[in-house]
Symmetry: C2
Subunit: 498 residues, 2 copies
């Protein structure tokens, strides 16, 4: 195969690969949004077939030859193609280590596991989900061994979501974070508590849906390529930068939940919508890593969405829509309400301060599962014990405990630390951004697009052109968790008059 | 390849084929329901790739060998497998006649054409759609030549939707139908007209959506495997008998439109939901043909949905929901309102009597296009002329004229006659059904499931096990269009006191 032939082949390879991903991505999205329930009886077959096609495409002799041909002349390729080929080769080397039948069977398992989890959560029936959960962990561990038997299997999993991340680094980061956050939480628990009763009144879902439009407009998200659906567990998916979809969940008695869920997923969506047009259809399209992704979503949700300038904008809107509940409430009162920091049960509903403790609990459980210290059956008990230990809360049932998140059902093991790392990155972005312009003023002036432009310039447009660590360090220099601790300490000391 | 190997291969072939159809079917459904608009920029690529995969699967040497091996031992196979193999072989022989690039390019064209049609209809811009429409017809004609160059190309197209159908048979059928219907329409135009003003009042979409639930319940459709979405043009799609979806369109000032659209699509859905479980994943899953399909949908929509016993049920519901508009209206008045027969502009909104004239217009235009008598550019003028000639109505614009249907945009050329044939079949079903039980009583007693059971027993469960003509004749004997004319004459003579 000549270089030219290989380049031609690369194009057709990527288009096929794109089509398979588009199809399976949509089938997943459909499953959790609009598909009739009974369709779950059939879906695993399709998902299994599509993953088999993907596997065969990736590992075919033709692809091998194409990748090897191009790897040999990597220095002659333009930067995008060179990086693209390297990434594809990396994926190829990884994929071919897994026997095809196991690869396909796992995709079918995940498709089943997702729908079982859904029903298990609905009916608060952990037992039903347990065998699937065990199999997901077992398979992940087995695959980690295939990928790299010289490494600790959990390190291999962490590396999938955040290249270069290890449990050693995680342990260190979480320990630093914990020692900064926990004393603060203790102090707050003894301070005067904030009443957020107006936020917990009943807000009809129809009204909340209209608020979503308000948020999309404020965030300057382009609806031409974007929409919102409703699911049990909110998430963002992108079939390409021309088709990015978020999902959300509204609760009648918690108006902030839907708003901040939309801002969080909106952050993910903005990132995907603004990755480089030149990367479309390549393996470099999409965000650099899950931590970089969460660094965007958590930034929009919290650092931006829960700053005083934004809560002022929100209050104005609330006063317009729900005058009976919010007239007479001051800017400061509302800001404090939105930032109530109280240990709680549900990760996605957690406040900015206690959030990372939820992550640490999941991280500890994943390690225990990988180390063979517990089995899936024991997860609820460990979960409940750790919630008591870390957050001081009693878990009433598995629906509000170990069944709350969809990640494990979907095979996302090793993903959770990304949320905490991403959250912490945000404080350093803010510092850097403030060197270029007055961030608070941009928010007040309804110029969030200024913030979008900054991220697009510094991060979004690169897609996966850089390794995630480089993405961050090129903007902020070395990662300093202390920055995030300082940010939290300052913010919450003011809010609680510590 | 041994017979056993071929049977094994058949299974995996069908699962792959199923997955590709599921994926492309869902991508189409998504495109017209929930996808963000801009996603149309990318979708044709995916659709092209999926169709290429399907083509390569169907025409691969492995598939060829498998099919030839099994065709040689057809007599030794069980009836389902034998028929399955014959159908697959038929499809294989047909598909391989089309060059791969042309096959794929056509699927990409259709995907583009669909979204262009959508925008063209929205903006009443036929010019925008015209080049796509011309290309669709050109390609259909060209493919017809590939399939069978010895036949008239339009006959080849008709045969795709209704095996064995020819323009000769169509001409004969339409001529008989026209000579029965047109004098009736003339008489009605001179009779005392019926006022249906209460049906044209404003009914909020939210209320109409609730009525859909009422209809689904009455029709005894199993929601576990079924749902309704909203689109510009209503249709039914099924990814399998475990996942059947209809779409509908509600108009604020026409409450019957959504109801009968749901009954029509509900008829399609019932058919698909009740095809034999043993046919799943084979080429025999799904309805026998489009005429048989439309014979079900049109039966539920009209023969059942617009009979006095059902309009009584509907009136009761209307009185409950909209007492101001319907209290004081008698059963007879309401029945007449629902059956107002007046020549109109929109096929899907047409009454039972004038409906088939809409079909004939489309049929005439398709013939003209295939005979090279007109080009796409001339369609609107011909359309408008024929609407004046056949129905006596003036078409105000293309949105209400040549742009109203999505069929041509989706490549469904030769499909329209199915609606008329299917409609006519219904009268003979009714006669047969009445021999087994009192149909009117079943409707009055809210026992539509009795009708469903009858169809399941006689038609649905066979899927594509039989040729469409046999499906009909096994139940009703020879097709007699006069039966349908008699049914219409009796019904509308009573309604209009002729």
């Amino acid at each position: 195969m000549t270089k030219e032939q290989a380049l031609e082949k690369l194009k057709s390879y990527e288009m096929t690969s794109f089509a398979i991903s588009h199809a399976s991505g949509l089938i997943y999205w459909d499953a959790v949004t609009y598909a009739p329930k009974g369709s779950a009886e059939v879906r695993p077959n399709t998902m299994g077939e599509l993953s088999r096609m993907g596997y065969e495409l990736t590992t075919s002799p033709e692809t091998t030859e194409m990748l090897e041909t191009l790897m040999a002349v990597k220095d002659e390729l333009d930067p995008v193609t060179a990086r693209d080929v390297s990434e594809l080769y990396r994926d190829y080397e990884r994929t071919k280590k897994i026997p095809k039948d196991e690869f396909t069977a796992y995709q079918m398992l995940l498709s089943q596991s997702e729908s079982v989890w859904h029903e298990a959560k609905e009916t608060n029936n952990f037992e039903m989900f347990e065998p699937y959960l065990q199999k997901v962990f077992d398979t992940q561990k087995k695959f980690a061994g295939y990928y790299d038997s010289t490494k600790n299997p959990y390190d291999v999993c962490l590396d999938i979501y955040e290249r270069g991340l290890t449990r050693e680094k995680c342990d260190e980061f979480f320990s630093e974070l914990r020692s900064g956050i926990v004393p603060l939480i203790h102090k707050i628990s003894k301070a005067k508590q904030i009443c957020d009763a107006p936020l917990k009144k009943c807000y009809p879902l129809e009204e909340q849906r209209k608020l979503a439009d308000f948020i999309i407009d404020r965030m300057a998200i382009d609806r031409k390529y974007f929409n919102i659906a409703e699911t049990e567990h909110p998430f963002t998916t992108n079939f390409s930068k021309k088709d990015v979809r978020v999902t959300t969940h509204y609760y009648e008695n918690n108006i902030l939940s839907g708003i901040y869920s939309n801002m969080h997923e909106g952050g993910h969506a903005l990132y995907e919508l603004h990755t480089g047009e030149n990367l479309m259809y390549t393996s470099l399209a999409g965000g650099a890593s899950m931590a970089i992704h969460e660094s965007q979503s958590r930034f929009y949700e919290n650092i931006l969405g829960r700053c005083r300038e934004f809560t002022d904008i929100l209050l104005e809107e609330f006063k317009r829509r729900f005058p009976d509940n919010f007239n007479g409430i001051s800017s400061e009162e509302f800001y404090k309400m939105v930032n109530v920091a109280v240990p709680s049960l549900i990760r996605t509903e957690a406040d900015e301060l206690t959030y990372c403790l939820h992550i640490m609990i999941r991280y500890e459980i994943e390690k225990m599962m990988f180390d063979g210290k517990i089995t899936a059956k024991e997860i609820p008990a460990v979960w409940n014990r750790l919630y008591k230990e870390y957050l001081g809360v009693d878990v009433p049932d598995d629906k509000h405990g170990a069944l709350q998140d969809s990640h494990w059902a979907g095979g996302l093991v090793g993903y959770f630390p990304s949320y905490a790392i991403g959250s912490a990155y945000g404080a350093q972005y803010l510092m850097e951004m403030n060197k270029d312009f007055d961030v608070k003023k941009a928010v007040s002036d309804n110029q969030i697009s200024k913030i979008n432009d900054w991220f697009e310039e510094k991060i979004w447009r690169f897609g996966m052109m850089k390794d995630p660590v480089d993405v961050f360090e090129d903007v902020c220099g070395k990662f300093k968790p202390q920055c995030y601790i300082d940010y939290l300490t300052k913010k919450f000391s003011e809010i609680y008059d510590l």
